[in-house]
């Protein structure tokens, strides 16, 4: 009787949760399974598709690189120091998760657009953000950097600071202690943060479409194909995007015990 009553609650919870799981898995599985491999291959050979995927991948890679150079040092400070305003900075890092993507696009456009302060500042250097790769990169950077900074901070926080102290007494400068001790030990966390950030950058649509319709990233291309030609024409590209994200995601899961 006890096991039975126990099972009743478990079973109803599993059923309720199962609805949610099914809701996630079914659409993705159907999209992937209903596409014929031949059509997927043909789609991949389509110049427009191929170049959009290439632009998406490397824009997101550049955004990840920029976040690595600026966000990882910040993550180190957040993990190792206490300073006034630290909690504020942690809040700002998490902010992009909740700001509407199209509003991010508008806000970035106001600053980096042709009339924007930074847009005009960068123009003499030949860098323009509207309808250009730099625009795609900053849109991706904005919406996805939280993942890398948080993962790197957790990674550094799990390294005992006394390991660095010992390294110092052994003759390492502060910089070399970081490079030879803390960085290698936090590397798995940082790498998984980079992969998650990269994948999140790939998937961005709302902020990117406002800054750059051309060159076209894959999610935008998917949207325009759907708008212009309908569902059937958009499906192979959707399948390719879902599959590549799945590959990245499974790789991430294998790299870390739990990604979060």
């Amino acid at each position: 009787m006890q096991t039975l009553s126990k099972d009743w609650m478990r079973i109803s919870f599993l059923l309720l949760g199962g609805v949610l799981i099914l809701f996630i898995v079914w659409p993705l599985a159907q999209t992937v399974l209903s596409s014929k491999p031949g059509i997927l291959w043909q789609t991949l050979l389509d110049r427009e598709v191929f170049s959009s995927i290439a632009i998406t991948f490397y824009s997101s890679l550049i955004a990840t690189g920029i976040a690595f150079l600026t966000g990882v040092p910040l993550a180190y400070l957040l993990a190792r120091s206490t300073f006034p305003g630290k909690r504020l900075i942690e809040g700002i890092i998490d902010l992009p998760i909740v700001v509407p993507h199209s509003a991010v696009g508008i806000a970035l456009l106001m600053l980096f657009g042709r009339q924007g302060v930074l847009g005009r500042a960068f123009a003499p250097l030949g860098i323009k953000f509207v309808s250009a790769v730099p625009g795609i990169v900053i849109a991706m950077l904005f919406v996805s950097m939280s993942y890398l900074v948080n993962a790197a901070r957790d990674g550094f926080a799990s390294v005992d600071p006394r390991l660095e102290k010992v390294a110092r007494t052994l003759g390492a400068s502060q910089w070399r202690a970081l490079w030879h001790v803390s960085f290698p030990l936090a590397w798995r966390s940082i790498l998984s943060g980079m992969i998650l950030m990269w994948a999140r950058g790939l998937s961005e649509f709302g902020a990117v479409i406002i800054l750059s319709y051309h060159p076209t990233v894959a999610p935008v291309l998917l949207y325009t194909r759907f708008e212009s030609y309908g569902l059937d024409y958009a499906r192979p590209l959707a399948t390719i995007l879902i599959l590549s994200c799945l590959v990245v995601f499974v790789g991430l899961r294998m790299l870390t015990g739990r990604s979060r």
Partner: protein, 349 residues
């Protein structure tokens, strides 16, 4: 000339402070810093190593001031209580880390690592990763890593406290042996009274960031400079002598007095006898207690239900008795009495 001089050091770190902290050590001396948990011993060592900014005061080694030198320029070896081996590097690369950082050329680096490994008997561990080592092995590797840079000063932060008792003794001997061989000037922090006695040339007792007393084991034990030191040492019968194996068993000799003990050790040793394990009587005792002496009562201290009686044999023994025993036996200062305790009641260390 003093080799290490710490002069009126003031440090403040997150609620804890060292105040006007002064301590000297001669070249090659092994100084034990003894204090209760939370007395700021780790912060003291980290400050000497250069890991905390100093508010005021000076630290000099061989006359050179190092107060504001960054840690990497001090050449001070540091061993943390919980090893702090670099988990991503092999034992060999852990040992070589300090040499790499100092850009020692590869060939002589290998030689030095080998030497340090040999000194601590860990040559067979060189290819292993730290995670696969036992506690005692980790500790030895940490010690070797600190010694390989030929430090001007070696700082040990409770190096034995994370080990189980058997390991402890062997690592304690290892420490003594390494010190005898290299005579690196060493500060060794501990909260363990017996560890302090067995290792230290001299002991500095500290409490809440302040030196309470510095001296030999005997100094501190016999003439505690403060209430705190006296309390921290406790009321014990502590003696130092030489153990010899005789026909009837092991015997410790101190100033001509012989104490029967149960031990496998020989040579110099310390013993302690708990005051409550000593029997006192007015007539000669014929009992199973192998240690029996006559002496004179030099002091009687009344502490409520218990009475502390000091009997000079002439070696002073403190004996705890009940108030009732005191009145029954009518003990008085100056009286001739007999004391006795069993060989198994003598703690050798």
């Amino acid at each position: 000339m003093t080799y290490l001089a710490i002069d009126a050091l003031n440090v403040e770190i997150g609620g804890f402070a060292l105040r006007d902290f002064s301590l000297n050590a001669n070249r090659g001396e092994y100084t034990i810093i003894l204090g209760p948990t939370g007395a700021g011993k780790t912060i003291l060592l980290e400050t000497i190593a250069g890991l905390h900014p100093v508010r005021s005061g000076r630290i000099t080694v061989e006359g050179e001031e190092i107060t504001h030198l960054p840690p990497e320029d001090r050449r001070i070896g540091f061993v943390y209580q919980d090893y702090m081996l670099f988990p991503h590097l092999s034992v060999e690369r852990n040992l070589g880390f300090g040499l790499d950082m100092r850009r020692i050329d590869r060939h002589s680096a290998i030689t030095k690592v080998q030497e340090a490994a040999r000194l601590l008997g860990i040559e067979h561990l060189l290819p292993r990763m730290p995670a696969s080592l036992s506690g005692g092995e980790k500790q030895r590797v940490a010690l070797a890593r600190a010694l390989v840079i030929e430090p001007r000063l070696l700082l040990l932060d409770e190096p034995l406290s994370a080990l189980d008792p058997e390991r402890r003794e062997s690592l304690q001997q290892e420490l003594s042996r390494a010190h005898d061989r290299l005579s690196t000037t060493t500060l060794h922090v501990t909260h363990d009274f017996e560890e302090a006695i067995s290792l230290g040339d001299r002991i500095a007792v500290i409490n809440s960031g302040r030196i309470e007393q510095v001296g030999t084991v005997d100094d501190i034990f016999r003439h505690p400079a403060s209430q705190f030191v006296a309390r921290f040492m406790g009321a014990r019968n502590l003696f130092t002598g030489v153990i010899k194996h005789q026909e009837e068993g092991s015997v410790l000799s101190i100033d001509g007095i012989k104490i029967a003990v149960v031990t496998d050790r020989h040579g110099p040793a310390h013993v302690s006898i708990r005051p409550e394990d000593i029997l006192i009587s007015r007539g000669k005792l014929d009992s199973s207690a192998r240690n029996s002496y006559s002496g004179r009562i030099s002091k009687i201290v009344d502490r409520g239900p218990l009475i502390y009686v000091t009997v000079c044999v002439p070696l002073p023994f403190v004996v705890i008795i009940t108030r009732r025993s005191l009145t029954q036996m009518a003990l008085e200062v100056g009286m001739e009495v007999y004391i006795a305790f069993k060989a198994s009641a003598v703690h050798v260390f």
